[in-house]
């Protein structure tokens, strides 16, 4: 009985030691500042659409993102190698109606394009969960990571309205384009690669890291476009288009991290 109690006691001690060792190897990392430029990539599915829609949503302009649009809230790293991270991701850019306006002007040479405005922003945002593996070589860091994003690409109340007036006449054509998102829960899959350098001043236990990152975001979704053409005293002509497509972005950026202290359980 004494032996049994001794074995149980020893096992308990070992467990506590291993748990302590495990928790001592964890480090909680604080929010990380990053700035990046997002370059939207047009999906192949949008290249050959009818009714001029291949020129509708894109081109969207490359856009800078700063700390408040995209950053890592918090991360937990084991032995400074295996990490679990929580991100708040964001990308926002205005889409341009110019290409679609040119399509309308070419298609209706007898009309003046009086106004063609687009209320549309390519907006991609939400929360993301990431796993990372950190490789160390001297003071350099190489960190590939994968993120699963619970995000949605939103075309912020996409509405296109163009008015064309016939030359030498009061007749007109009016185009409305509306969008409906058919994917109820959109996700994104993101691959990132960070290359950085870490250093620690002699007088201070705080560590600093600076680096650059390359990121590719892929987020599939289905959307439906309704194109309506109106003219005076005529029933509206309506065309619908359902497209299975994806949002693709390449982000190139820089980051800066401060490791305040080792987190101890």
């Amino acid at each position: 009985m004494k032996k049994l109690l001794l074995i149980i006691g020893l096992m308990g001690c070992l467990q506590t030691l291993s748990a302590q060792s495990f928790f001592h190897s964890l480090r909680l990392e604080l929010p990380e500042a990053e700035t990046k430029v997002g370059i939207p990539i047009k999906d192949k599915s949008l290249l050959n659409l009818p009714y001029g829609m291949n020129g509708f949503l894109y081109p969207a302009q490359p856009q800078f993102s700063f700390l408040w649009t995209s950053f890592r809230w918090i991360a937990l790293f084991y032995k400074d190698k295996f990490g679990l991270e929580f991100y708040s991701d964001g990308f926002y850019t205005s889409t341009s109606p110019d290409k679609f306006n040119r399509y309308l002007a070419d298609r209706n040479p007898d009309y003046y394009l009086k106004s063609g405005y687009l209320i549309s922003n390519l907006e991609f945002g939400g929360q993301a969960l990431g796993i990372a593996y950190r490789l160390h070589w001297r003071s350099f860091i190489l960190e590939p990571k994968f993120l699963l994003g619970f995000e949605s690409l939103r075309n912020d109340s996409t509405l296109f309205n163009a008015y064309l007036k016939e030359k030498g006449s009061n007749q007109f054509l009016q185009y409305f384009i509306g969008r409906q998102e058919l994917t109820p829960h959109q996700h994104s899959y993101q691959g990132r690669l960070l290359i950085g350098k870490r250093w620690k001043p002699h007088t201070n236990p705080t560590e600093y890291e600076i680096g650059c990152q390359l990121e590719y975001i892929y987020s599939p979704y289905t959307e439906q476009w309704t194109i309506t053409q109106r003219s005076f005293d005529q029933p509206p002509v309506q065309n619908q288009l359902t497209v299975r497509t994806s949002a693709r972005l390449v982000n190139i950026g820089a980051y800066f991290k401060v490791y305040l202290h080792r987190w101890v359980y």
Partner: protein, 199 residues
């Protein structure tokens, strides 16, 4: 130690921002205006810059626009009026708005019948939509929409133009006279006519 629900800096921030938050929600009442005169002019809407007043008396029928110049004055200041913020609302609603031709227009529009269904309300900038017909403009009381007078000098009468576009040419071209009759809820009525040669 006694705890306080708000720290002093937070309270100061709230005290500073509260008036700003409330001021943005204030509602301003519009000036009430009355139409005192209406005059018709011919206009040509062939180009890209909106209807242009025509002085020749001959206009392409497909691009004919009727320019209605109406004179207004402020007839009421009720509620919370702020000169820089208050808009303009018609005090006496439009009760009748009809365009006629002195001669037969086409088979379904003999002389003296309303031509409202052939005209489109074009607004101030020459743009129009299939929904904004004269009837719709009348029903929604935006046919006679008053813009701010020059320099916001609301004590003096000012004139504003509206354009209505002829969307279907007549059965036969040539000389004709259009007549406009407008009535308001205060029993004031205006009638003006304009002669034009449609080609």
């Amino acid at each position: 130690m006694k705890t306080q629900p708000f720290s002093k800096p937070l309270l100061q921030v709230l005290l500073f921002t509260a008036p700003l938050l409330f001021s943005s929600c204030l509602k301003y009442d519009p000036y009430l205006y009355t139409v005192s005169d209406i005059k018709l002019f011919n206009a040509d809407n062939s180009g890209n810059s909106g209807p242009i007043t025509d002085s020749s008396g001959t206009v392409n029928a497909r691009a004919y626009a009727m320019q209605i110049q109406f004179t207004t004055y402020i007839s009421g200041r009720e509620g919370h009026i702020v000169p820089e913020e208050s808009g303009f609302a018609l005090q006496n609603k439009t009760t009748d708005f009809n365009i006629y031709s002195s001669t037969d227009f086409d088979g379904s529009h003999p002389a003296g019948t309303s031509l409202n269904d052939l005209f489109l309300y074009a607004g101030h900038d020459g743009t129009a939509s299939a929904q904004t017909t004269v009837a719709n403009g009348l029903a929604n009381q935006y046919l006679f929409y008053a813009y701010a007078p020059n320099g916001n000098d609301t004590d003096k009468p000012w004139t504003t133009d509206l354009y209505i576009l002829l969307m279907k040419p007549p059965a036969s071209m040539g000389y004709r006279t259009f007549i406009l009759h407008v009535a308001f809820a205060n029993n004031t009525q205006f009638t003006d006519s304009i002669a034009v040669t449609l080609r």
